[in-house]
Amino acid sequence: MNEPLPETWEDVARKHGRKIYNFAYRLCGNPDDAADLVQEVLLRVRRGLADYTPGSFDGWLWRITRNAFLDDVRRRKRRPTSPLPDHTDRMSEWSSPGPDEVLAGLRLGEDIQKALLDIPIEFREAVVMCDVVGMSYEEIAAAVAAPIGTVRSRIHRGRKLLRERLT
């Protein structure tokens, strides 16, 4: 599945920025880190476009994206003084007294996000690629450089862990 090279990184930003942002947000759980990651990915895309060899553009882009995310995770581990902000708890402060169904619906989303953050990264990544971004198992396997069977197992175990946390 060869795809033509997008002409500029601006095209990449326009076509894929929102996908990358949603991926990043669901993996790290807050808007600032997600925005930083999108910018880092686009910088890497800009540097890499010159060396891009025709192939699956999406596969190439997702490899860059998840590598940028994993680099960020590793950086955080070395810098324990700046943990991910506990966004979810702050949200629940204002929403806990609300009897409103609307707020209940929003809390539900927060619960799901919190459960995602609670499961191991490789499961979270596979589930988000599958159920948020809408990638096929084959596309995920290419992005994470793992066999399809591994992807299938990660998605499955991720869902089981989420289910435990959401009931």
Partner: protein, 141 residues
Amino acid sequence: MNHLGDLLSAHLDGELASHERSRVAEHLQTCDRCRRELEELASARAAVRSLPLLELPVALSTAIGARPDPIPLRRRPVAWVGAAAAAAFAVFVSAAALTAPEPREISPPQLNAVYGAVSSNEGAFTVVKVAGATAAAGGAR
């Protein structure tokens, strides 16, 4: 009897190989345990799929020169329907204004206003720190 395990997730995703499909279908007809597990998996899958697709924060889309994604994600965005949705949006925005920034769904008219204004910036790429940017969007704070 071997239970289906991760074949169940692949079944939900339409990712079974052809030779696996009949085995899964036959097994599900006779095994309560796998049927129950399938339901649980389906609910976890539906939960993640129910998460709203977020718009890019305005400061970020300005920084990267990106306008709204003309190619939607494969999943359909959560639809905001009717007055209830408008009320929900208003409640959410006013509540969010009091607390931490949270990306939120932006209505199309707002998007046009915002993104129409940055088209002259297209091509300019500067890395900016967008912390707090989402609070500025929508007039909050």
